[in-house]
């Protein structure tokens, strides 16, 4: 596995806070530590809140890539 190949994907465009974070949490719990989840997140509130909450729970954001009106995040499940 390379850092940039995701085991799972979640498209959270249009999903509001904090529901977007809850979706991610549920997904991350199904995955193994070290796995990578790819997430599409809206700009604005979601980009302000979700990355902070993920860091608080010990997950790692490996990459943030801007796309058309949203962002693609690679999240590595906490050890």
């Amino acid at each position: 596995m390379t850092q940039n190949s995701a085991e799972s994907e979640l498209d959270l465009r249009g999903v509001l806070c904090p529901l977007n974070f809850v979706h991610i949490k549920i997904k991350l719990e199904e995955m193994n530590s070290g796995d990578v989840l790819e997430v599409l997140l809206d700009d604005g509130e979601p980009m302000r809140n979700v990355p902070k909450s993920l860091k608080q729970e010990g997950h790692r954001i490996l990459r943030v890539a801007p796309e058309d009106g949203h962002y693609r995040l690679l999240i590595q499940v906490a050890e």
Binding site: M47, R48, P51, K52, K55, Q56, R60, I61, L62, V64
Partner: protein
Amino acid sequence: MESSQSSMEGLKAELRKESRRLKLNFDELKSGGFIKQTQKDLFTVRLRCPGGRVTADKMRTAAAIADKYGRGEVHITVRQSVEVPYVNYIHFDAVAEELRAVNWSVASCGARVRVPTACAGCSYNPNGLVDTQGICAEVDRRYFGTPTGHHKFKMSFSGCPIDCFRTREMDLGFQGMVEPKLLEDLCNGCQLCVKGCEDKALRMEGDLPVRDDSLCVGCGDCVKVCPVDAMVVARRGWLARVGGRHGKHPLFAYEVANFLTDDQVYALIETTVDWYRHHGEGRERIGAVIGRIGLNTYLDDVVRPLGVEIVAQADQRRKYWAGGNLYDSK
């Protein structure tokens, strides 16, 4: 006849005993905390709950007092106290006894330093930057009940600039703040910090975030979001505000010092209460004193001598702007 005479004597003796007992209590309870109600003979017993933190043990005592001497209910005040209403004054002694048993006492009222309030701060609130509960307990231990000679003196502690404990409305308010610093070598340019800063104090210059201190309120969100810990805390401390109040004619406090340590907070409280005692007239709150003789006098007399990081210029306060319906009395 004779028996009624002797029972009258007995009653008088009982009353004398009772009043001696009550007098003793009134002395002991002079600091206030027993507040007269609308109803004859009934008082509200305000309990001392610094930072709104009360052990389960004390809560059980409050409940027992409410059951035995009140009406089986307590009131949670806006300043985080537990009050037991509808207590007849003849029970003061018994109430004080029950409180002593759990090492508790009533709060103060009148022209004194009141019980300080505080949020949960960094102990479990994700926004918290500082230990609000710790310092609140210590400030209560040191300064609770100190007479001011003029009017009440209220203090509060907020863990971050969201300021749930309204430090702007206090005679003295302290709010946690951090100064973020970028470790350029670690930064990957992801911009999450820029997105995370509600005050637009960060912008990208090339591949690196740059901070504008004239906009940064010290909330630490950029540090909390940075996935590689490239944005770190350079300094952490208390922002001090003075001269606020609510009431019929509210005043918003002035920011007067940045990044105070706990010891500097204690020093500022002591010198500020002293200054207020000397310069206040009648029942003025400290905000009115500052309005009358000028913020600069306060800064020169109290803040400068402490050698702390002073906030002396109006521009330094602009980033803490407030809006809404701010009346002008003139």
